[in-house]
Structure formats: structure tokens, C-alpha cells
């Protein structure tokens, strides 16, 4: 097969139209010097042709949706061809009665939510870059958020996929029904695989009714009392749809650390749960603040953005996890470190943080991050540096950035070898 010349397919203006303006220079920064002009196919068949051509040419590629998370992970190796999914942005199917939707991978979450809203439904996730992120990118990075308290991660919402393989063939797994055990669960394999096993083409997801009412409660005050409140809430029969530790957040008055609870249900249930939570907080001498719609949604939106969108004084983005009971100790550690903002999902123990350097000292900062990582690992968790500034790239190279300490790495390598025998798919970015 003759290789497709990427210059025939796109002009640079198209690319800029598709990329989110807020991350404008990201491609240049993260893959700029190495990259060739991007290819952005307008159909899945065309995407498959491009991939087949790249396979024939042994041309490595970097897939991207809106480009919002291109800086996550290490820079790709070699001369890579960026392949954009942004034109595969159609809602293929929404079966309202069946609570299921199929989208092309380049569809933005924001657009999907807008399409689902008239039927009173949503895809219950609150990922990073929620306004620009595509479904494909969200799945490839396993990026859910606080709503996992009730709805699970994106892995738990994904019913079926179709993919373009390294050789340009289209394959699928799963289906469109909520229970399905036919064949291997390749949905789980592709969730969080960072584009290293194939290109996501379509995704079928489970949708949920939007709760009749949502309210949010913020608690802050004495640290041990907060820890007691968190454990008390987790052991209660209350059913929050989100329950996060938050810190460094401007929405929290007075204190650096607090708890954020979100309830979503029929109105009487929300009222009852708020009442019980406030009573618990008062017994423990905690301060509280109630947020109602639409402020409460805005709070969660900004919270996630603060913990994952890098700023000039907080250029590092971390994803980490540890046993839920370790959260208070991790928060103490975070409070004694560099300037940071973030959240820890209280039930899963997963957390996100954006942070800066300790007094401008990057070496000291990297040592501190390693100590934080050790603390996570001691509690059966991990710490991944999703995004680091240039000053830290040499401190944390490829696999070290992901912080894998398990015994499954060799097996992951074998899987990668099967799905990408010529190392064409996002080479160098991920752990594998």
C-alpha cells in the first residue's frame, strides 16, 4: 500500500480550528519539534486507511482528540505523525429508553451532555478539561472524577468499543447492552491505555438519569474532626454521588483542607441527607456551607479544573491513589509541601493534584514528590506524574513517571507487543 502523504489531507488551519484554543501551543510544546503536520480523518474508514498506510510505512503516530491531555505522559519518541480524531464527532445512537449511547471517539463530552440533556440523561463523569475533552481521550486516559463515588469510573460505564488496530483493520468488542460477557473485555484493556494499543473509533456508554435535585455541602475545621466526619460518612447509609477531600481550594473559606459532599436524588432524599450530614458536622464542631444548583455544579467543575489544569505557579499534575483511610495522613504531607490544590475521592482513595516547586527548588521538589509516592505505595497505592514542567523531565523519565511497582509489567509488555508489534502507537508516551 502506498503511504498517504499527510500534507494532502490537511492544511494547518484545520488543525487549529479543531484544537481547543486554551491549549493552543500544546502540540508544539509536547510533540512540536518531532511532529509532522497532523492528519485528521473525517470518517472511521478513512482513519483505518491512514493507519494502514502508516503501518505499511512503519510511521509511528500520536493519536489525539482535542489535544487537551497531550502533555500527559512522556514526549513521544522519533518522528511521529499526529492523528486527530476531532472530526469523528458524531452521536451515532442514543436509545433514551435503554439508557445507552454510542458516540464517535472524537465527540466532545460537552457536546454529548448537551445531546443527552433534553431526555434528562447524562454520562455521569467529571473529567479534566471537561469543556474540551473528547470521549476517546477520556477513555484513553481513564479519566473520570468525583462522580465515581456513585457511578464508578469510565471503565464501569463503557459497554462497547470499536477500534482501528495497528494494521488498519477495524475490530470491536462488547456491545450495547448493560450485561454482556461474550468475548474478552477489551473495553477494560483500552480504558487507560493512552492510545498505545489501537485507535478508539466508537464508544458505547451507559447513560443515567440526571438526579432530580443536587446539593453540595462543604465542611471544614479541625483536622481530626474532619477525618472522623469522612469515616463517619463513609460508614453511614447516606448515598452521596461525590465525597471528596479538597484542599487549597479558594471555594473553601478559612481553611486549606475540607470535605465536599454532593447529594443527588429525589428532593426529599437530598434534604434528608443534607440534614443528617450537617448534624454530623455540628456534632464534630465543623463549619459548613451549603451550595445549591447551579453554584454547586460550578464548584465541582472548578474543583476538577484546579486539580488538573496546570498554571504557571502550579505546573505539575499528579494522579495518585492510596487506601481511603490513608487520606488524612497524605493531606498532612501535602500541606507541608509545595503550593498545591487538589482532591482525593474519599471512597476509592484516588486523588489529583496540581502543584508548584518548593521555593523554586526543583531538585528538592522532586525529592518531596518521591516521598509522597513512597507514602502512597506504603498504602497499596501509586503516584503518577501526569504532567511535569521541563525542569522535571530529567528527574522523571518514562516509566518512572508512571510509578508502577506491580509485578504485571512484563505481561503488559507482551500485550503491547501483540497489539502493536512495530511500536507505532504513541511510542514512548506511556508506561508500556
Amino acid at each position: 500500500m502506498r503511504a498517504i502523504d499527510p500534507n494532502d489531507l490537511n492544511d494547518p488551519n484545520d488543525l487549529n480550528d479543531l484544537l481547543d484554543p486554551s491549549i493552543g501551543q500544546l502540540i508544539d510544546r509536547s510533540i512540536g519539534q518531532l511532529a509532522r503536520p497532523a492528519v485528521i480523518p473525517e470518517s472511521i474508514e478513512r482513519l483505518a486507511e491512514v493507519m494502514a498506510a502508516c503501518a505499511a510505512d512503519r510511521q509511528p503516530i500520536v493519536p489525539f482528540g482535542s489535544g487537551s491531555k497531550l502533555a500527559w505522559g512522556d514526549s513521544p519518541k522519533g518522528s511521529v505523525l499526529p492523528v486527530g480524531l476531532g472530526r469523528l464527532d458524531r452521536l451515532v445512537m442514543h436509545d433514551e429508553a435503554d439508557l445507552v449511547a454510542t458516540v464517535e471517539a472524537g465527540m466532545k463530552l460537552r457536546d454529548l451532555q448537551a445531546a443527552l440533556a433534553p431526555s434528562g440523561q447524562w454520562l455521569p463523569i467529571d473529567p479534566a478539561f471537561a469543556d474540551s475533552a473528547t470521549l476517546g481521550g477520556i477513555v484513553a486516559t481513564a479519566d473520570a472524577g468525583s462522580l465515581r463515588q456513585r457511578y464508578g469510573g469510565i471503565r464501569d460505564l463503557l459497554l462497547g468499543i470499536s477500534i482501528v488496530r495497528w494494521d488498519g483493520q477495524i475490530a470491536k468488542a462488547g456491545g450495547r447492552v448493560v450485561k454482556n460477557v461474550a468475548g474478552y473485555d477489551l473495553m477494560k484493556l483500552f480504558t487507560g491505555s493512552f492510545g498505545t494499543l489501537g485507535l478508539l473509533a466508537t464508544l458505547t456508554v451507559r447513560t443515567y438519569p440526571i438526579p432530580e435535585q443536587c446539593q453540595t455541602l462543604l465542611l471544614w475545621g479541625d483536622r481530626p474532626a474532619l477525618a472522623q466526619a469522612a469515616q463517619g460518612l463513609r460508614n453511614s447509609t447516606l448515598t452521596p454521588i461525590a465525597l471528596d477531600w479538597v484542599w487549597g481550594n479558594p471555594a473553601l473559606p478559612e481553611a486549606a483542607v475540607g470535605l465536599a459532599l454532593r447529594f443527588g436524588s429525589v428532593a426529599p432524599s437530598v434534604a434528608e441527607q443534607m440534614r443528617r450530614s450537617i448534624a454530623l458536622a455540628q456534632d464534630l464542631g465543623l463549619q459548613s456551607m451549603v451550595l445549591s444548583e447551579p453554584d454547586e455544579a460550578d464548584f465541582w467543575h472548578k474543583l476538577r479544573a484546579a486539580s488538573t489544569a496546570p498554571t504557571s505557579d502550579r505546573p505539575i499534575t499528579l494522579k495518585f491513589g492510596a487506601l481511603p483511610t490513608a487520606a488524612p495522613a497524605l493531606l498532612d504531607r501535602l500541606a507541608s509541601g509545595p503550593i498545591s490544590q487538589g482532591q482525593i475521592h474519599a471512597s476509592s482513595g484516588l486523588g489529583w493534584a496540581s502543584l508548584g516547586a518548593i521555593e523554586g527548588d526543583w531538585l528538592r521538589t522532586s525529592r518531596w514528590i518521591r516521598q509522597l509516592r513512597a507514602a502512597c505505595e506504603a498504602e497499596q497505592g501509586f503516584l503518577t506524574l501526569l504532567q511535569v514542567p521541563a525542569e522535571l523531565t530529567h528527574q522523571f523519565k518514562q516509566s518512572d513517571r508512571w510509578g508502577d511497582r506491580g509485578s504485571g509489567l512484563a505481561l503488559m509488555g507482551k500485550i503491547k507487543q501483540q497489539f502493536d508489534p512495530h511500536q507505532l502507537l504513541n511510542p514512548g508516551r506511556f508506561l508500556v
Binding site: D95, G175, L189, G408, L431
Partner: protein
């Protein structure tokens, strides 16, 4: 169906191999006597039987690894078996194989209530997990009907569901980490007590892989807090359509019950004959069971709305139970439906297809047509909220030709499920039984891609070979016995 030895043309020297297993695992862990092997000839799918060459009963991860390494050394396949309750023949031994039974690995290794995690060995019975934590107000959500006898290891292999999956998901949504013995005997730990560990989601890949990727020897489970209030609502209808329409209306009313189950008239009568619950009216065409959980105020509000929806759809009687004994009584009939079918007919053949919820009425009509066409009665019990059907085809195995006929009929049901946008298995697995229908659902490229994953784990194909995936030989032969082989590779609309 034919299960051919897949590896070597000459038979292994089982005497010598058995000696090695005894050396490695001890005499008591190895079963060789023909009469003792009988127990292990089949799993819950009793119509297929094969005597394994050897059965081993390890107690530790290291013993499982030692057994798998011996299988590698002698290049003999192995089949893992938990409690043997599977319904798709996943634990059916193949010829010249070692059956590795995890039934003696029944320790609950760790209960961590603070983190709501439990670590168990694979032989632990499903409802032991709930029993271990219920005193503190927690439970383990996936609850297959066989939960008092099926094991967690089998649940992991099959990605088992149950009657409460609608709200809380199936096994894969509750497994955080695994200790695995890979098909080469290596021990690896995947996942953790924390989700989304760096790298590929090996835990998610393994759950539901039906014993083809190795053997899980430790399982880290998530447990949930028992709800404040639980209500079970029973409604009976004079038409199946009305019951199915109620299910759709409940979902449309933004209510996600813990579970929604429907039983048809034949099932109701079978259950009343056997379990004598006196709860299900014998003249009803369908009953609908809805379980709602949450805060009392939420359950009360939703019960009212569900009852109203059922009434609007013509329900005759509505019973609501919140007391735990009363709830159990309402569930008892549903949970004993399979056993009841076994009492009213010499044999039954259960299928496990799934359709989008909107196609429930259509598929039931199709099943009724097939029932008439083939001349076998079908009792329908199903997880209506998930669109997961369990038609029980009643037949008599002792009459020559009946098993083949009901299998063919079952296949026709599954094809219609796929046509409707559904799947050939919702929770029982593909196993030995349904692999020849895989091409109805998946293209050659789909299946090849899945095999890539298998090759990464098991290049020698020693772990439960001849399961899940169709092979030209066996599926060709099975198909030839009943119909042209092409029928298995036809079908364009497969997703």
C-alpha cells in the same frame, strides 16, 4: 459436541505425570481414581461430560503455580474449576487435561471495613463474603442465584451477575485486584486495593476471561454499605406486555431499582408447585419484582411511583415488603425458579441472551413462536431491568434427539438476541456451550484481536483451551450435525 485434544497426537503418560503431581502437591491433593473423578466430569451444564485425566486440589497460590508449571512441563492443558456451578461448561474438562479445583482455597484472608475491602481465596462461596461483613452493616453486591454454592473464583472467571446488577453492576465492577497464576505458572499481582493503578487494567481484562488467561488465587473485593431501607414490590399482570411496559416506564421515570425481575405464567406455576410461596398468583401472565434501596424517604417516594406505574399498566395486585423476612419470601420464588423447572420437567435447558430493554416484548414473542415451532415449552424468568433473559426450555434428555433439538432452539433464541442488538451471554459465559455462536456476534477481525490478548497470556494455549472461541473443527462438526456450517458465519448485523 466434540472436544478434541488440542495439543499432541500421542496420549500423555498419565502415570508418570500423576507421580510428579503427587511429589509436588502431596498425595491427598491429587485425585486419580476413576470413581472419584466422576464428580468432576461436568459443571452446572450437565448435558456435557468429560472425565479429566487428573484432578488436583491445591490450597495455596504456590501449589496452584506448581500444578500449572507441571502442566507446562508436560504440555498438557489445564482447566480451572471453582464450585462447579457454571452453566456454560466453562469448567468442563477436556480430554487429557488436568482439572485444577480451587474449592479448598476457602479462606477469607482479610476484612478491612475501614476501607471497605475484603481479600478472599477463590474457593470462598459468594455469600460468605456478605456473611463476613453483614454484622458491621456491609454486603458484597453481585448475587447470582446460586450464591449459596458458587465460589468467588468462578464469579471472577465468568464475570457473574445476579438479580441486583441493575444499580450496582456485575462482578467486574467490584473486583479491585487479583493475585494470578499465569498460564506459564508465574505468579503476578494485578490491580490493588486502589483502582486505576498505573498501566493496563489487567484486573479488568482477567475478570470474565473464563479461565483462559490463568487462575486467580486471591481476589480483592469492594464491599458496600447496606442501604438504610430496602423495599421489594411485587406486581402481577394479566399480560406480559404490561409487565414489560412497566419496566420501561420505571426507567423512564428516572428510577434505577436495585433489580427488576419478571417471571411468566409457566415459571410462576412451576415455582408455586415446588417452593409453594403462595405469593405469586397462578393465573397471572407475568409477575414483576422490583427492589428499591436507599434512604427510607427515597425508597418511600420511589415505591409510590413504581406502584403507580404498575397500576397504570394494569397491575392487579401490588404487594410491598420492607421487612427482611417478607422481602426474602417475595424473592424466594424467583431464586428457586431454576430448581423448580427441574422439578416440573425431567430436564431443562437454560439460555442467557440479552436484548436492549426496548426489545423485551419482541424477543418474548419470538421465543413463544420458537416454542411452538419446535414443540417445547419455555418458562421465562429474566432480569428485566438488564434485558437479560433466562428462557428455560423444558425437555426430556432420555428421549433421543430432544437435547439436540432444544440446543438448536436455544441457538435460534440467541441469534434473535444478537439481531435485536443484544448478546449471546449476559452472565453465564460462553464456555464450551456457546462458542460456536461467537461468529454470529463477532467478525473474524474481532475474534483475532481477542486472541492477541490470549496470546500475550497463553501462547501455548494450555489454559482452558477449546472454550470461548470457536474452532473450525469442533464448530464445523457441531454445526454439520444440525445445519449447514455456513449458518454460523452468516449474519452481517452482529454488534
Amino acid at each position: 459436541m466434540v472436544f478434541a485434544p488440542s495439543l499432541s497426537a500421542t496420549r500423555p503418560d498419565w502415570e508418570a505425570i500423576a507421580r510428579e503431581f503427587v511429589n509436588a502437591l502431596g498425595d491427598r491433593a491429587v485425585i486419580r481414581r476413576r470413581d472419584e473423578l466422576l464428580t468432576y466430569e461436568c459443571d452446572g451444564l450437565t448435558s456435557y461430560r468429560h472425565r479429566p485425566a487428573l484432578v488436583v486440589l491445591p490450597r495455596t497460590t504456590e501449589q496452584v503455580a506448581a500444578a500449572v508449571k507441571l502442566c507446562n512441563r508436560f504440555r498438557v492443558p489445564f482447566v480451572a474449576r471453582g464450585a462447579g456451578t457454571g452453566l456454560s461448561g466453562g469448567a468442563l474438562p477436556i480430554e487429557d487435561s488436568v482439572l485444577i479445583v480451587t474449592a479448598l482455597m476457602k479462606q477469607i484472608l482479610k476484612v478491612d471495613l475501614g476501607n471497605q475491602r475484603v481479600v478472599v481465596q477463590p474457593g470462598v462461596i459468594n455469600n460468605w463474603v456478605t456473611q463476613a461483613v453483614s454484622g458491621a452493616g456491609f454486603y458484597y453486591a453481585p448475587d447470582p442465584s446460586s450464591q449459596i454454592i458458587c465460589s468467588i473464583g468462578g464469579n471472577v472467571a465468568e464475570n457473574s451477575g445476579g438479580v441486583h446488577c441493575l444499580k450496582y453492576g456485575v462482578t467486574t465492577n467490584h473486583v479491585l485486584g487479583l493475585k494470578l497464576v499465569l498460564p506459564d505458572g508465574e505468579i503476578v499481582e494485578v490491580g490493588s486495593a486502589v483502582p486505576e493503578m498505573p498501566g493496563y487494567d489487567l484486573t479488568g481484562i482477567f475478570v470474565g476471561s473464563e479461565g483462559t488467561l490463568g487462575i486467580a488465587t486471591e481476589v480483592t473485593l469492594r464491599i458496600l454499605k447496606t442501604a438504610d431501607e430496602i423495599a421489594v414490590l411485587l406486581a402481577d399482570f394479566t399480560s406480559m406486555d404490561a409487565a414489560a411496559k412497566s419496566v420501561a416506564d420505571i426507567i423512564a421515570a428516572k428510577i434505577i431499582p436495585g433489580g427488576m425481575e419478571i417471571m411468566d405464567n409457566l415459571s410462576i406455576n412451576a415455582v408455586e408447585d415446588v417452593a409453594k410461596t403462595n405469593c405469586y398468583p397462578r393465573d397471572a401472565e407475568a409477575i414483576l419484582l422490583v427492589e428499591l434501596d436507599g434512604l427510607a424517604v427515597e425508597v418511600a417516594a420511589n415505591s409510590d411511583r413504581v406502584a403507580q406505574i404498575c397500576r397504570e399498566n394494569g397491575a392487579r395486585n401490588i404487594t410491598i415488603a420492607t421487612d427482611s423476612q417478607e422481602r426474602l419470601k417475595l424473592w424466594k420464588g424467583r431464586k428457586s425458579a431454576f430448581a423448580a423447572a427441574g422439578h416440573v420437567s425431567p430436564d431443562y435447558y437454560v439460555q442467557d441472551g440479552v436484548v436492549p430493554r426496548g426489545k423485551l416484548v419482541w424477543i418474548l414473542q419470538e421465543i413463544a413462536k420458537l416454542s411452538e415451532e419446535y414443540g417445547y415449552k419455555v418458562a421465562n424468568v429474566f432480569h428485566a431491568g438488564d434485558g437479560n433473559l433466562h428462557p428455560l426450555v423444558l425437555y426430556d434428555k432420555s428421549v433421543p434427539g430432544q437435547l439436540e433439538a432444544v440446543e438448536e432452539m436455544g441457538g435460534e433464541i440467541l441469534k434473535r438476541c444478537v439481531q435485536a442488538g443484544g448478546t449471546i451471554s449476559g452472565e453465564h459465559g460462553i464456555g464450551a456451550e456457546k462458542r460456536c455462536y461467537m461468529p454470529d456476534m463477532f467478525s473474524a477481525a474481532d475474534l483475532e484481536t481477542m486472541q492477541w490478548l490470549r496470546s500475550a497470556f497463553d501462547p501455548l494455549r494450555l489454559a482452558n483451551p477449546d472454550k470461548v472461541f470457536p474452532t473450525p473443527k469442533t464448530c464445523g462438526e457441531a454445526a454439520n450435525a444440525q445445519a449447514p456450517a455456513q449458518r454460523l458465519v452468516e449474519g452481517v448485523d452482529r454488534f
